[in-house]
Symmetry: C2
Subunit: 365 residues, 2 copies
C-alpha cells in the first residue's frame, strides 16, 4: 500500500487530533476530507466493533443545509422519496437521482423544521447540484455547507456510553429518529443511526470548537467499556449489506437496481427530478440487481476496481466490494448481476485469478 | 504519513498499471481518482522534472463534455471569461463561480467545435453544477463525463520526446493551443499546457484502451532522454505560482482576490452566473490577495491546513501551500493577505512554531 500525501485540499476534521493520537494507520478520502480506515488492523477493528464501542470520525459526511421558506419544497423536488409526512425528528434515507434516474448520492435527509433541512451526504459534491437547481429555479432558500461534523458512536455498548455523556434520554431515541441533547451548553442533534449493524448513534456536532471536548468526554466516560477510536469497517459493512456510493453504485446506476425501490414513489403525485425516468424503470423492472455474493477460496485481495462476474464465458455482472470475513469464514461481497441470472456456474475474475461465486438470498447480518 | 486504503471509490486510471510498475510511493485523491504525488522523493522528482522529461498520470483532470446546439451558450453562461472569440484550437483557463462570486473550480475549457467543449476540471464535482444548470434552464445540450484521460509530458526535453511519438507537428503547437494528432490510428487532442513551468504537453487520451500503449510508447521513445514517471510537484508548482483549487482557494474565495481578475469581464455585455457579484467586487476591489511568500528558517512541515499569518498580534492572512525549495534555498509559499497589509513584521504560525514571513513581488519561476 502507498502513502497518502497531506495537503489542505484533503481536509482535516474537528476530530483529527484525536484520530492521530489514537494511532490511525490508514485513511481514505471522502468528500475531500480525511476518513480513517484502519487503527489496529481491519480484522482487529472489526472484532472490537462487534464486542464493545467505538467513536468514529465521520465528519466527512458533510451536511448541505437548506434554509428558508422553500426548503421543504426543494428537498422534495430533489428525491423520489415522499417526504411530505416526514416528522420533525426524522432522518430519511433518500436516493437523489438525475433526470435519467442515475444515482447522484444516497444521503440521509434530516428534517430540522419546515424551513430547515440537513442533507448528510455520501461521497459526491451534491452541494453543487442542489445549489445549481435552487438557483436556476429561483427558489427562496439558502443552500450551504454548515459547520456540522457527524461523530459516530457504534457498537453494542454504544447506548451505555452515550447515556453517560448525554443522559438517559438517548434510550428513547428510535431508529432513524433524533433528539436534541445538550453538550457543553450546546443543543446537538443526536440520531440513532450509523454505518454499522452493531447499533449506535450519530452526533451532529454543530461547531468544530466542541469537537475535541466531545471526543475526550466520550473516551473518559467509556474507559471501562473499552471504548476505542474506530471507523466504518469494510468487512462488517459488507456483512450487513450497507452500500457504499462510489463503490457499489455510481451515477450509472438507478435506485431500483440498487435495491432502493422502496424509497422511490413510482406513481408520484408530486414532482421530482428523474420522475419520468424512474416511472419507466419501475414499470419495466431493473435490468440488473445488487446482491450479496460469496466468493470461494482464501482471502481475496483488496477490491480496488470492479471485478467481472462470468457465467459460461459471458460477463453477467461485477463485484464491487469484497473482504474476508473472520466470523463467517468466507469472502463476503456485494455485486451487481444481470436480471434472471441463474445461480449455477458463476465465477469472478479477481487479480489473483478466477474464483467461484455463490449468490446468497440475504446479507450475513 | 499514513497509508491510503484501496477501494473502487478511489478510481484507478488507464495509466495506473504503469504508475505502479514505476514504483509510486504516495498518492493524493483528486476528483475521486488516484493522483500520484511521489515516485523517488519530492526533492529528487523535482530535480528530475527540471532537467529531463516526465510522463504524468493526470487522468484525474476529468473532462465534462458539453455536446449539442447550446454547448457554446452554456459554456459562456458558466464563466465570466469572454469566450465568444475563442478559436477552435484553443484551451482557455476559466474561473467558474457561483452566484455570490465564489470559486467553484478553475478548469481549462477546450473548444472542440461550436457544438462541443471539454471542461478539464480541478478538484470539485463540477459535473453536478453544470448538469443542474443545463437541466434547469432546459438547454439543448448533453452534459457528461467522457472516457478522456489527460496524460502529461512535462520537462525541458518534453518537446523532443513528443516529436518522436507524435511527429514534428508538435513543435508548431502554441501555448494553450492544441492540435489533433494521431496515435494508434486515433486522433487525439494534444495541447501545449500542463501544471509545471518546465514546458510540456497534455495529451487528452480518448479511450482508456490506448492508455498503456501510449504510456509504453513514450517510455520506449524516451529512454536516452532519461524519461521517468512523474507527477505535479509541490515545490515546483509553488515556485511557479501555479494555484491549486482546494489548497490556495476554495468556494469562499472570489477570482479577483486569487489574481484571476484578468479572466473576468467586469462590465460584460453577456450574461453569466455571478455577474452581479463580480461587478461589485471589481468595483470595490478585493479585500485580500493571493501572493508569493517566503517563510524563514529550516524546511517547514507539510502544510495540511491553513496557517495563520500574524502582524502585531492580529491575523492578517493565511498560508495555504508551502515547501522547502532546494533551488532557492528557502521555504516557498502561497498565501492570502488582507489588502494593504504592510510588509513589515509578518509571521506565520506553523505547527512547529512561529516563523518570519516575507512578501515577495513575484513568484520564483
Amino acid at each position: 500500500m502507498a502513502l497518502i500525501s497531506p495537503s489542505r485540499r484533503l481536509r482535516r476534521t474537528p476530530f483529527s487530533d484525536g484520530v492521530e493520537a489514537a494511532g490511525v494507520r490508514a485513511y481514505t478520502v471522502y468528500n475531500r476530507m480525511l476518513l480513517p480506515t484502519v487503527f489496529d488492523s481491519p480484522q482487529a477493528d472489526y472484532a472490537h466493533l462487534k464486542a464493545d464501542v467505538q467513536v468514529w470520525d465521520v465528519a466527512c459526511e458533510r451536511q448541505i443545509e437548506l434554509r428558508g421558506p422553500d426548503a421543504s419544497a426543494l428537498m422534495q423536488y430533489l428525491t423520489p422519496r415522499d417526504l411530505r409526512r416526514a416528522g420533525e425528528d426524522q432522518c430519511c434515507y433518500v436516493p437523489i437521482v438525475d433526470n435519467a434516474g442515475g444515482m447522484l448520492n444516497d444521503p440521509v435527509a434530516v428534517k430540522l423544521d419546515q424551513d430547515r433541512w440537513w442533507i448528510s451526504i455520501a461521497d459526491s459534491d451534491l452541494l453543487l447540484w442542489v445549489k445549481g437547481i435552487a438557483q436556476a429555479r429561483g427558489l427562496n432558500v439558502q443552500v450551504f455547507e454548515p459547520d456540522v461534523s457527524p461523530l459516530g458512536v457504534q457498537g453494542p455498548k454504544s447506548e451505555k456510553l452515550m447515556a453517560r455523556v448525554f443522559g438517559a434520554a438517548v434510550q428513547d431515541i428510535r431508529f432513524f429518529r433524533y433528539a436534541k441533547l445538550d453538550f457543553a451548553g450546546r443543543s446537538l442533534v443526536v440520531a440513532r443511526s450509523g454505518y454499522s449493524k452493531q447499533g449506535g448513534f450519530e452526533i451532529y456536532v454543530e461547531g468544530g470548537d466542541i469537537g475535541m471536548p466531545l471526543w475526550n468526554a466520550l473516551f473518559e466516560a467509556g474507559r471501562d467499556l473499552n471504548v476505542r477510536a474506530g471507523c466504518p469497517n469494510l468487512i462488517e459493512r459488507i456483512e450487513g449489506g450497507l452500500l457504499s456510493y462510489g463503490n457499489d453504485m455510481t451515477a450509472q446506476n438507478n435506485p431500483y437496481e440498487c435495491g432502493l425501490g422502496k424509497f422511490c414513489t413510482a406513481d408520484a403525485d408530486f414532482d421530482f427530478i428523474g420522475r419520468a425516468a424512474l416511472a419507466r424503470i419501475a414499470a419495466e423492472g431493473p435490468a440488473q440487481n445488487l446482491c450479496p455474493l460469496e466468493i470461494g477460496g482464501a482471502a481475496v485481495p483488496p477490491c480496488d476496481r470492479a471485478w467481472p462476474v462470468m457465467q459460461g464465458g459471458e460477463t453477467v455482472g461485477q463485484i464491487t466490494s469484497a473482504a474476508w470475513s473472520p466470523d463467517y469464514a468466507c469472502n463476503v461481497a456485494i455485486g451487481m448481476l444481470a436480471r434472471d441470472t441463474s445461480p449455477e456456474g458463476l465465477s469472478v475474475q479477481t487479480p489473483d485469478g478466477a474464483r467461484p461465486v455463490t449468490r446468497r438470498a440475504r446479507f450475513w447480518i
